[in-house]
């Protein structure tokens, strides 16, 4: 796992380049400067304003769609009987899935000692927080009266003795998602503290010094601080790890514990978790590729990182495809009329286009990732990630809509047509997500300065050392 290999070994095949994790020619000083300059240089690229404007427009669409929804009610959505679950659950699951890369990168890869997580973890964690916020909006808004949501969703000992149904995965969702948001946020903030201290030192304006000073919570970088910090970080990583699996498993139970063909299938939990990681990495690449170019962060997010992320996408994508395969196989093997019909209906029914586009975007296109040359081709990776973003949304559409619209009795079949307000709310959350990400890039380091410096120390002084952070803290 050496990471300072600069060029190909001469005696062997010339294409065997091992890319470094930090580009050569950097020092502790240059690392801090390059990352904090994104914020402190005062030069905001024009493209930032362009996208910020667009994102702001969509935040307004979100506001409008939510306002109309609250004034009139969920009747403005396309949901009907039998399709009682529409865009709200599709988008909820899509966003929650996107949030999974952050925890995987920050927690699981930390425990697995994968050094390539450093320098993409902050970015992915930030994405997680905002993606979970977007996800959370849907269950809250679908209640119609979100100010009463806590009363409906949270179990508390009321005098009426009314409790939520504890056997329902929907209430487990409430616990799982709120735990996930809390732990992710704590992890993120703890990680940010040393970086805020670095910004405090480097800020030139009085306002900047005071603000970052407060956010740094008195961090002085003493050995004792680092000692506590490292313990806290490791413990939080341990706590977050089960959350990577639990949240999306419970989301899959929302469907799987029912008796609806297409929902009730035992492969759902692992297949949903793999899909979540797949979607999460696709979003990290979708946003990370332009970001590293605009702010010239290629020194820290190198081709090595991008190659590793592409490999994770390939592996999780194949597992998702395995899930589709198992469903199709059991549609035949079960010899169950309804299971068989569900598969045929997905492939050839009125929503055939959604199933086959899903296969195209989520299974076929990502097979390009097998090739080393594609994994080294930035534009190709951007479009493959985009394809996966679309594919993963279609997956949830297929699961929710095609399973519900034709169940057991032909007399109760129906069709689902999302309305302009469905689309407005969905597009609005994408705008909100982008808006928050763009704001964050402007005010806090999008790459962890402390960890990249730690990695730099480690690679420079050999592999035996655990963390060089202490000696470079000053």
């Amino acid at each position: 796992m050496a990471s300072v290999a600069h060029s190909a070994p001469e005696t062997h095949a010339p294409d065997e380049v091992v890319h470094p994790l930090i580009a050569p020619g950097n020092s502790y000083k240059s690392i801090t400067e390059k990352i904090s300059n994104v914020i402190l240089s005062g030069k905001t690229p024009r493209v930032w304003f362009f996208w910020f404007g667009i994102a702001f427009l969509f935040v307004n669409i979100l506001g409008l769609s939510a306002t109309v929804l609250l004034l009139i009610g969920t009747g403005i959505w396309g949901i009907t009987i039998p399709i009682g679950w529409g865009f709200a659950i599709i988008n909820f699951v899509w966003w929650i899935g996107i949030g999974h890369a952050g925890t995987l990168i920050s927690a699981v890869l930390l425990l697995l000692n994968q050094k390539w997580r450093t320098s993409i973890n902050r970015f992915a964690e930030t994405m997680t927080i905002f993606a979970v916020m977007c996800a959370g909006m849907f269950p809250l808004l679908h209640t119609g009266r979100p100010w009463l949501a806590a009363y409906w969703l949270m179990p508390y000992p009321s005098t009426m003795g009314v409790w939520p149904q504890f056997r329902s995965p929907l209430i487990w969702d409430v616990f799982a998602v709120s735990t996930y948001l809390t732990i992710s946020a704590v992890f993120w903030i703890v990680g940010l503290i040393p970086d805020f201290a670095a910004l405090r030192e480097r800020a030139t304006s009085r306002f900047g010094k005071v603000t970052y000073g407060m956010l740094a919570m008195g961090w002085r970088g003493s050995a004792r601080h680092w000692h506590h910090y490292e313990i806290a970080y490791l413990l939080l990583a341990g706590l977050s790890t089960p959350l990577v699996v639990s949240v999306h498993s419970i989301v899959s139970f929302d469907f799987a514990v029912s008796v609806i063909p297409g929902w009730h299938t035992t492969i759902f939990p692992p297949y949903f978790v793999a899909g979540a990681i797949y979607a999460g990495f696709a979003m990290v690449l979708t946003l990370g590729i332009p970001m590293r170019k605009v702010w010239k962060l290629e020194d820290f997010i190198t081709m090595r990182h991008i190659d590793c992320m592409a490999k994770v996408m390939l592996a999780t994508g194949l597992f998702v495809a395995y899930g589709y395969g198992m469903e199709a196989f059991m549609g035949y093997y079960s010899a169950n009329t309804y299971e068989g019909f569900m598969m045929i209906n997905r492939m050839t029914g009125p929503y055939w286009w959604s199933y086959w586009s899903l296969i195209f975007f989520n299974v076929l296109i990502p097979q390009l990732l097998w090739f080393r040359s594609i994994r080294a081709n930035i534009p190709a990776l951007f479009w493959i990630s985009m394809s996966i973003n679309i594919g993963m949304w279609l997956e949830r559409f297929v699961i929710v809509v095609t399973s519900l619209h034709r169940d057991f009795l032909p007399s109760s079949w129906g069709m689902y047509y999302p309305t302009v307000w469905d689309w407005g709310l969905f597009a609005g959350t994408i705008g909100f997500f982008l808006f928050m990400m763009l704001l964050f890039i402007r005010v806090a380091p999008i790459i962890s300065i402390a960890e990249v410096r730690g990695l730099f120390a480690e690679t420079r002084h050999g592999h035996g050392k655990k963390h060089g952070a202490e000696e470079v803290a000053a």
């Binding site: 796992m1 290999a5 062997h12 095949a13 139970f253 692992p270």
Partner: protein
């Protein structure tokens, strides 16, 4: 050279011991077969499946290590390859199952099929000739993969080069994919179809996780045995066992996750066609086994493996690995035997003789294969190139 001689003697001794046990077990099984053919085939399937899963786990382990690298595999690579080399024996040992199909599988019994509309519908897939063809295809694929990988790692040993490493990587990527599919279908064919009306989409994955877990536990056991006898290089130490222990911990959790997910989903929906599988597995004495699985396949190893010291000391870790190997037997028994004994525990002496007999032959072959090459870690041209660059 003295070390190589003593290693050879050590492995030869082990091979002879296990061969004796294997032959004795095989004779017992043959005697049992004459007394009770039906029971023989049932027990034989159980014994076969355990050792088969271990073999396939070794094949998957080699391919995974080709793709991901890692210290766990450097210490165990030779043992994994020897395990994978038992595949021809397993192909041979599959033949009795092929002959026993009408005695083992309900769907191969025309009388049963005549009374079941569902089985008639499935007859296109579940019939004797297609079953045989599929098994032939699976084994051909696995044998090809194993032979190529073994051949190339021999080349790598003689003449280390990056090109060979790349070639192994390029085969292992698609190889893992093909392994996932074939292993899943084999689990459906050979075990799930014992109850031909029942189906579960996570079933293949449960088998694959079981294969991984058995492989890791066996690797810990055999690596400890070899290193305690000074047969391995001094490079194999605490770090390797710690990594293997962590991986085994992960797989224990994965096994629990998969098993519990399947249970929860089936329990919640409460459909008779699905719950029957669990109904058979908690009937009578089976209930104790089910509880035993939760306690000794999950709780006990989970908490023991949380403790760092237990993972780093090979002599403690090997005991946990032993427990897990034993529980893999129990889990598989709980998967297979209730299909025949739906009302309660039906332990037969052949259920013990078959896995011991097949296991003896398996281990004898394994040690024979292990003898063929050095026990030193495979050369790693990538790591060497990187180290050279670092020194520069």
């Amino acid at each position: 050279m003295n070390n190589a001689d003593s290693n050879r003697a050590l492995l030869e001794g082990a091979q002879k011991r296990w061969l004796t046990i294997g032959v004795a077990g095989a004779l017992l099984c043959a005697a049992g077969g004459f007394m009770n053919a039906e029971q023989f085939f049932r027990s034989y399937l159980f014994g076969f499946m355990f050792w088969f899963n271990l073999t396939l786990g070794c094949l998957a382990g080699v391919m995974t290590h080709n793709l991901t690298g890692g210290d766990w595999g450097i210490a165990t690579r030779r043992q994994l390859e020897a395990g994978m080399r038992v595949l021809p024996l397993m192909a041979l040992l599959f033949l009795p199952i092929l002959f026993g199909v009408p005695k083992i599988y309900e769907w191969a019994n025309p009388e049963h099929v005549a009374h079941s509309a569902i089985l008639q519908q499935k007859a296109g897939y579940l019939n004797q000739s297609f079953f045989g063809i599929r098994a032939f295809v699976y084994f051909s694929i696995w044998l090809t993969l194993a032979n190529l990988l073994y051949k190339w790692s021999g080349e790598l040993e003689r003449n280390p080069s990056l090109a060979i490493v790349r070639r192994m990587e390029n085969l292992s990527g698609p190889g893992i994919l093909i392994f996932f599919l074939t292993s899943t279908l084999a689990a459906f064919d050979w075990v799930m179809s014992l109850e031909p009306h029942w189906y579960s989409t996570i079933y293949g994955l449960l088998f694959i996780v079981g294969q991984g877990l058995a492989m890791l536990a066996f690797m810990i056991a055999v690596t400890t045995w070899l290193s305690n006898r000074g047969a391995l290089s001094e490079a194999v130490g605490t770090k390797n066992f710690h990594d293997l222990g962590k991986l085994m911990h992960g797989f224990v959790v994965l096994w629990t996750y998969g098993s519990f997910s399947q249970f929860l989903i089936i329990w919640s929906a409460n459909l008779p066609e699905e719950t029957i599988w669990y109904a058979h597995r908690i009937a009578g004495g089976w209930k104790l086994i089910a509880i035993g699985l939760a306690v000794f396949h999950f709780l006990v190893p989970f908490f023991l493996l949380l403790i760092r010291n237990n993972k780093m000391k090979s002599n403690i870790l090997v005991k946990i690995a032993g427990l897990i190997l034993f529980m893999r037997f129990v889990d598989l028994y709980w998967f297979i035997s209730p299909a025949f004994n739906t009302n309660g525990l039906g332990l037969h002496w052949l259920d013990l003789a078959a896995p011991v007999g097949i296991g003896g032959l398996w281990l004898a072959t394994f040690y024979g294969q292990l003898r063929k090459r050095s026990l030193a870690p495979l050369p790693d041209p990538f790591a060497e190139a990187e180290q050279a660059m670092e020194r520069a």
